[in-house]
Amino acid sequence: MLYQEAGQFSTRYADDRRLFRLRQDRLGLALLLAFAFGAVPFLGNDYWFSAILIPFLVLSLAGLGLNLLTGYAGQLSLGSAAFMAVGAFAAYNFELRVAGLPLLASFLLGGVVAALVALLFGLPSLRIKGFYLIVSTLAAQFFVQWALTKFSWFSNDNPSGVITAPKLEILGADFGSPAGRYLLTLGVVAALFWLGHNLVRSELGRNWMAVRDMDTAAAVIGIPLLKTKLLAFALSGFFLGIAGALWAFTYLGTVEPHGFDLNRSFQVLFIVIIGGLGSILGNFLGAAFIVLFPLLLSNLAGLLPAGLIDAGQLENLQKIVFGALIIAFLIKEPEGLARLWRRLRERARLWPLRY
């Protein structure tokens, strides 16, 4: 009787507003956070931090950013990587050019600049609807990459156009080690997920979904389409921008504009599709899938006798499986892994009874 729900009544509306209504869920989250913050830094090794956990967290955040725009507000975007790039380069320049600016403040400002750029490219959404909108976001994708490569000011005139992370220091504490970078990433990502969760449950979140589900009806009941859509672009850009800054600073430590190309945008989109459009949890599931699946496949192949399948074919295979999974999810489970997870949980709530 793990999920004993009986007796947990909401007696005040405030109870319903909490992060999770059920005590078990709240306890689970608290335990998970305690584990992630308290235990993982001592359990993990360099490989886990640098190659799995940090990219997983950053990609989850990027997924959240796109999910706000596509999953909640229903505006398809292929420009996620552009907004990540803006966030990364803006944070870098704030850190570089404003002496004594705290690291977290540059992340925040990086996010704000990305939000403004996203807002700009979101403007056509007022007139261009649905599928046609990908033109605007693709324009963002190509334009931003071009501008960041073209004007070397953005990369402090580095001949290779590469930016390098500053010292990761907050209030004198050094977060430069793999475990430190993990903790820093985790902290930022956790805070932003709290924010994102609040957003989608607020009036704005409802307005986004209303615009997504039927924008004519949304306009008729007085939802301001202009403001709602633009806020979706801006907030999506904000989350993506901070994800980009984390990508550059805590994950890779260095990044060039090419690192945020169209393939990165597709990757973020796949996270959202596989994880679940319009789901907060789905972003974690999708990101975990994207990070772990290739490793799983290549490690499984490592178990086979050497020479049976070479690394190149494996990658081709991975591409095929990936594409097939995208299609399978869209056909069979458009709500993604998050929905599978919910089913599992519903079963757990009934356990040990069947019904």
């Binding site: 609040n198 607020s202 008729v220 009941i221």
Partner: protein, 260 residues
């Protein structure tokens, strides 16, 4: 059962609307008094839905005037109409299918919101108290329409009749002065129709909400409305209390199809 003497809440004057040269509505005028239930009837394609779309600004007529609460305009805008207190339901249910019943009803109250999205996202300032007030108001509507058991259900998975009721709940949540209902009873059985009629009459009596509705079931129309407007091919062919209209030869002709 006659027109109330006060000045009309809504008045349309010489409205014409066409799509790509095809006339949908021609030189149409009528008025709706405050507090009445006004029914628009007429055969399919008579321009009834287009008329509702003009009243709340989804379509903009090529000519004519719209006067709502003594303010005169050439056309409405959906958002402005909502702010003036015009709410509506749609012929082919226009609910937000991916959201829960409660969330759908809450969207109806979005214009009553005062706290900013930043306050709500960070959960500071006015947001929390307002959340409770909004929720309480939404719950009142949910209770009124007796849809409590489905409060947390996703709307898209509910049966048709319930969806119609949820849509009405969303419109009512806005506390409108004028309620536009586009075939609220379409596809319902007799029992459901009776229930829906009761809701409409109750809304009208209890909150004094003015109602304009489109309905094909003449029995229902005659039963609940104070005022009937008959359309045919985009023209008005009848306008008056239900008893009068029912006897109008032109209306009978249009309905029996003897005109051609």
């Amino acid at each position: 059962m006659s027109h109330p003497p006060s000045s009309p809440l809504l008045e349309l004057q010489n409205i014409s609307l066409s799509f790509k040269g095809v006339k949908a509505i021609t030189d149409l005028s009528f008025a709706v008094a405050p507090g009445e239930i006004c029914a628009l009837i007429g055969p399919n394609g008579a321009g009834k839905s287009s008329l509702l779309n003009i009243i709340n600004g989804v379509y903009r007529p090529q000519s004519g005037l719209i006067r709502f609460d003594r303010v005169e305009q050439r056309s409405m805008r959906p958002h402005a109409a909502a702010e003036l207190g015009i709410a509506r339901t749609f012929q082919n249910i226009a609910l937000f299918k991916g959201m829960s019943v409660l969330d759908n009803v809450l969207t109806g109250r979005n214009l009553k919101r005062r706290s900013s999205w930043i306050e709500q996202a960070l959960r500071v300032g006015r947001a929390a108290g307002e959340d409770d007030r909004q929720r309480a108001a939404a719950e009142r509507v949910i209770e009124f329409l007796r849809i409590q058991p489905w409060r947390d259900a996703i709307v898209g998975r509910l049966p048709y009749g319930l969806q119609k009721r949820v849509e009405l709940a969303r419109a009512l949540a806005a506390e409108p002065r004028l309620l536009l209902l586009d075939e609220p009873m379409a596809g319902m059985n007799a029992e459901e129709k009776a229930e829906m009629s009761r809701f409409i009459v109750e809304v009208n009596r209890e909150y004094g909400t003015t109602v304009v509705l489109i309905e094909h079931d003449i029995g229902v129309v005659m039963g609940i409305s104070d005022h009937v407007v008959v359309l045919d091919y985009g023209r008005k062919i009848g306008d008056g209390p239900p008893g009068e209209v029912r006897r109008d030869p032109e209306v009978i002709a249009a309905y029996l199809g003897t005109r051609h």
